[in-house]
Symmetry: D4
Subunit: 147 residues, 8 copies
């Protein structure tokens, strides 16, 4: 099973899912989570821009190669919404994955439930912790429930 881990990049949720799923035979992919590299990749490789808008555009378009490849090859897309920032790219990825008919697992705290209701409604599972995501993946692959 291939799983793409989209969204928030400031906590260790990806590591917790990947280590929890150890032994299940899941192949994980994810965006570049080095914030500075992700922001500057376009100009670092293809030359500087005076305007921040095009600086951002060059980077976002390059990152989209990785994102698109990750989502399109995934069986399951997990999207994490954290407590900070707008995280519109996370919601964009969720919509992109939904339109492709991918199975979606959304991961967020209860405070965001109302704001994410349209996103959650497109999902197969809504989890509050990375460990619940691991339990979902283990159940889907092995039929085993936790505990």
């Amino acid at each position: 099973m291939k799983v793409y881990l989209s969204g928030e990049i400031h906590t260790d949720w990806r590591e917790r899912i990947e280590s929890g799923a150890d032994g299940l035979g899941v192949t994980f992919s994810a965006p570049v989570t080095d914030h500075a590299a992700s922001d500057d990749c376009g100009v670092a490789i293809m030359g500087p821009e005076d305007k921040k808008f095009w600086h951002d555009r060059k980077g976002a378009s390059l990152n989209a190669i990785r994102t698109r490849m990750g989502i399109e090859s995934a069986d399951v897309v997990v999207v994490r919404f954290g407590d900070q920032y707008k995280q519109w790219n996370a919601a964009f990825d969720a919509g992109y994955a939904a339109a492709l008919g991918k199975s979606l697992i959304i991961l967020h705290g209860p405070d965001h439930a109302h704001a994410l209701k349209e996103v959650d409604a497109a999902a197969n599972a809504v989890c509050e912790t990375p460990e619940q995501v691991v339990d979902c993946l283990r159940y889907v692959l092995t039929g085993k429930l936790p505990g």
Copy 2:
């Protein structure tokens, strides 16, 4: 060849097909056939629900990850209708597979033939025993007929 075995979970038909097809190089997948786990997986992982409707919804949505992955990656989808229960999920899977253009083998006793006529009409083969399904798979893969 990848074969998804959908439908009835109370008899040993899957085992009979899998053991009969031993050596043919077929990779089988199937839904979780532990009835209790299948019913309760959603709440066991993501927390309890007071209403049975949402208890069921959480489980069915989670199970759909496995079902969708199994059907979409399959070359052939076998759907078994047994003697009991409504088995609407089996017919749903058959319709889902048909719309994706998957090859379908339907497995049921003669008593259900009239009720299943629309489903049978979408199928490549209608069998009465698991052994006939094995004979179909062997023929499709090797060109060898039984006997």
Copy 3:
């Protein structure tokens, strides 16, 4: 908006939806609801069969032209499950529509909720009465809520 009304053919639920949606600009389609004609159409047009199985096959394949055309051109597919019969063709239609990414409204009484949990989980709305279906369609088209 185009709506296909699939499923149970022994009560007046289609008429109640169509009259309730009068003035909304909805175009409805449905299977042939004359039970005898639907069963016998194949042999009546293309000649008799000795075996009931092929009698049924000829009819089901012919009816599939209408069903497929109705579902594929629909924006919304409503599937009604009644109290009697196996109704596997209704569940097949629901699966077919779901795989095509159609919006689904499922209509059934509370007694069938558990047996239909996989079908309901693929739906945008689960209603208990034809009037609720009408309210859904009116809301989707006009934004107006009942009452």
Copy 4:
């Protein structure tokens, strides 16, 4: 040309686009912009829920019928991000439209440019005012530039 107007529902940007595009032969569609109706439609039609989560789910799933129909039939999807709220459903719609290969016009103020860089990178045009969107639509349809 069919244009779907997604996103922020608290200012008059839709009206400004629709009136500005008067005479161009554009057919506009949009989500239900009555905030209360949009939040409560599910329970108002299909019955109350004790939990806010399922109250929201019922509404979001029903609204998705309209959203999906609007985006899938559109030639161009315009997505507006305002100054307030998370607006994850707007970004979700943008991702959904992008995956379907729809032409995208994103409308937002310069303050949001960095946070929206992935969304903007998927767009054909990024505008700051509704009038610029109108100018884009007019140019695309008639070849005429403003002024």
Copy 5:
């Protein structure tokens, strides 16, 4: 309903279907049935060829515009196999339509049944007379059986 009438061009079967279906609201399309024009269209418009092979290629490629448009826009594709000639283009059209998921009605005499078994197996209906095809179309559209 849109119906494409493919295949044999030497008898009046198309006229019999079109006149029989009068009043049903069916829009028919078909290949160019003027044999000489169909064979020579390419060189007549784009200049002569010394080799018969390229003479044929120019015509066949041009005719393919009409064939493709007819099949792709059709709800139902009727393919007629007559008593003479190889008629490989008819079988090619049937395969093309089947791969696109079109409803198929095959029209041929009983003598060809064995040679057409793979084609018939992909069809919704196999008829022996144009009148049976009309009866199929009428039933599919109105639910009325003949007689």
Copy 6:
């Protein structure tokens, strides 16, 4: 029939095709053929750019809305290669249309035949004059040959 006329914008070939096809019921679409407007549309509407590269990008992305809409809705795409300039956008449109399975007619003088061999090989017809294109369209629609 819908026909998109892509490519060279400095001669009157579009007018000759459109007037020649008068009465055939063809709906034509085309890119904006005002060269200056096409080059400057992006900055004229969304504000100036210092760099020519982004000036061009803004315009090309906006023009792509019209191009994509024209090609995707077309039954036939005609692509004209003239004697001057690189005309890479014309070849790009041809490739885009080919990948979508559109019928292609390529229009160019004999001097370009070798350089266009890959493009011609994807086409249904290769014409040297606009009048030949008209003859192709008339034949495809009516079965009538010129003369």
Copy 7:
């Protein structure tokens, strides 16, 4: 590269292609070429039929599982037309493959060129001998020409 070898089953053309392509890394698939098994597989496995029509149907539907799997997974479909029989299934396969956008190589003697002009027009290459097909495959994979 995966190549499906469709069509005539009475000469050794498949063996000649497979042995000629030895070492190129091509995986070949083909229909069941045991004529008797192919005709009788349906009834041999699923029980006899009184009518030849349904005897044939059962077999053809079962064989279609193998055919569909072979064509859909192929990069190149080779279709051979021999000197005898109607071979409508070969032309059907060619049409099916063409509609899926598969690369096609057609193999036939010059006598059939006119009758196959529509099929040839959909092909990437038209060969007269199995050795030419091998040369095509070798060139496509290695860039080496014969001699």
Copy 8:
């Protein structure tokens, strides 16, 4: 990751990308870059043609098997435009890849920027040197920036 290298065949840009990407796990494919073989492959294998037009057609159609296979299986398509020739096949490939939703990297010198503006607008990255393409691939796969 699979990368198809389309376009100019007279400089060593492919070798520079392939050697630069050594160790990244990228599988590269490309057209036949032996100009004479590419031009003559059709007639060398399938027999000579008097007319240059059909000589070219036979070769271009055969080469299209390789091109199509390369583009359709690629995650990323790199298209190089050199200083000479029309290179319409390069632009055709770019359009073909864009319509299939492939990630695109365009490689050309600054002199061609204006003529390629429509092609560049469909790309994820526009590079001036093969080394920049390598840096893009390395970043997309590993998240590492150069230097």
